[in-house]
Point group: C2
């Protein structure tokens, strides 16, 4: 499994195998000169018939330092469900997904044994490329390396049990991300992307990022007023509401299901859901008497 | 700055300089044989008059993989303030602090320029020592390496602005941790520790962990039903309510304040709060035209 990025080359947009350039993705995205070098090398290398990266070989495109996620960032998607007349909130609602949630575009996601109501959320994810602290909205995009897709998988039963959502959001593998990073210069305007989700062959979500309440630039600037964003951090910008027919027909994800999230210019991220394996016979623990 | 742990030696409890054993703390705590080796080496080394570790040199005792925190885990501390008659909740309320929040016992914490209502929370923090997934309550303590103190610094203004608390909990340095890790075999019963906070020379919090709703063993087991706990992860077990006089006299933390959290058997963690420095003249960003 190897991480990938889409770059412009002499032959047009190409999928660059970041594993071949012997650099961590986090190091790469934090240094624009390395990005340029990689692009140039990819352009040259492709001319020398470097094998293209096979999508089935892709790993998660980066290991985020932190994953900050927005709730209720599309107009009409409110804490009480769907209310197209709701006023815009004054501030984004921000929560965290832990590092164990990261899954690659070819990883199946395990539905935990006790999970009763697992759901998907197709989201535009922003990859930070340069440290950001107290940046102005007009400068915010210069701190963004690129975009990718994140499926904010959620266990609604856990999410509902208490005020804070961590246990509903942080099961292992609950943040499939990818399939690659599209750098800002290669990507469409992030406020003009269509976010769609396909489940069981039907489109269940279809809404433009033009209907977000808080733009990418606003969100980067806003969060940077509170904490330092580092290269490799990811901000996932929230999910649109499901379409009416999908809300009516909704059932929790089950083993065997697959969900595809596709976003204009970013490709598509398909995640298969599988059952938890029976417990391994011996859980790791300290030897008797040492703790 | 060096990380420390308290270990038993031939001369009694001693502060072990983990920096001298050429191992990362995370590697150390994940391997009981290394803990034993370190103890033995420390015992021997002390007999050879190894200089003791100076508390003023201590760094954060570990770099947590993830920091999971509990809200409202002491009886009487409820979402609406203090209500001694409130029923116990059925589940712990869990949220996340991001890696940028970690501060060592000798680090000052910056009150962000825009912060209006910064507060302290003195908490018993549990350091995971062995991977935990779906562990039973009776096995949970075998997955714990030790304990330390965490000050869950919070910006109440941000915390109140939306349903999720991330922006109120995740400013840089908002999780001072230390002063060291006390291994389970050296520590008192975690359900019989007195948690106290001293501010301006007065005790503002004084409550035993015997009044927590969810025990350490329960919390480790419970969280492990939802996600995998890894060596080096930290679970902070929530704060007691402030004493009545401290609630009446409470004012937000300001530059120049110092807060000491002390817990039976774990030592004390004093954190100084300082003003934000004026912005550095040039924020980092990509060179013009590259992003």
């Amino acid at each position: 499994m190897r991480p990938g990025a889409v770059v412009r080359t002499a032959r047009g947009d190409s999928l660059l195998d970041l594993g071949d350039i012997a650099l961590s993705v986090n190091a790469l995205i934090s240094d624009a000169s390395l990005v340029r070098a990689a692009e140039m090398r990819a352009a040259g290398a492709l001319d020398e018939n470097l094998p293209g990266l096979v999508p089935a070989d892709l790993a998660a495109p980066l290991t985020p330092g932190k994953i900050l996620c927005l709730g209720y960032n599309y107009r009409g998607h409110t804490p009480d469900g769907v209310d197209p007349r709701a006023d815009d909130p004054e501030y984004p609602d921000v929560f965290v997904k832990t590092p164990n949630t990261v899954a690659g575009p070819n990883d199946a996601v395990v539905i935990p044994a006790g999970a009763q109501d697992v759901d998907y959320e197709g989201e535009l994810a922003v990859v930070i490329g340069a440290r950001a602290r107290n940046v102005a909205i007009e400068d915010a995009m210069s701190h963004v390396a690129g975009f990718t897709i994140l499926n904010d998988v959620s266990d609604r039963a856990w999410q509902r049990r208490q005020s804070q959502w961590a246990l509903g959001k942080c099961s292992d593998g609950f943040a499939p991300i990818g399939p690659w990073i599209v750098t800002v210069d290669e990507a469409p305007n992030p406020q003009e992307m269509l976010v769609e989700v396909v489940r069981d062959g039907r489109i269940t979500v279809s809404q433009s990022t033009s209907t977000t309440i808080f733009s990418v630039a606003f969100v980067v600037s806003h969060i940077s007023q509170v904490l330092t964003l580092e290269p490799g951090d990811v901000i996932s910008t929230g999910t649109p509401q499901k379409l009416a027919h999908a809300q009516a027909a909704h059932r929790p994800l089950a083993p065997g299901d697959a969900v595809t999230v596709r976003i204009t210019g970013l490709g598509e991220l398909t995640t298969r859901f599988v059952a938890a394996q029976p417990e391994s016979p011996a859980a790791e623990s300290f030897p008797e008497g040492t703790a």
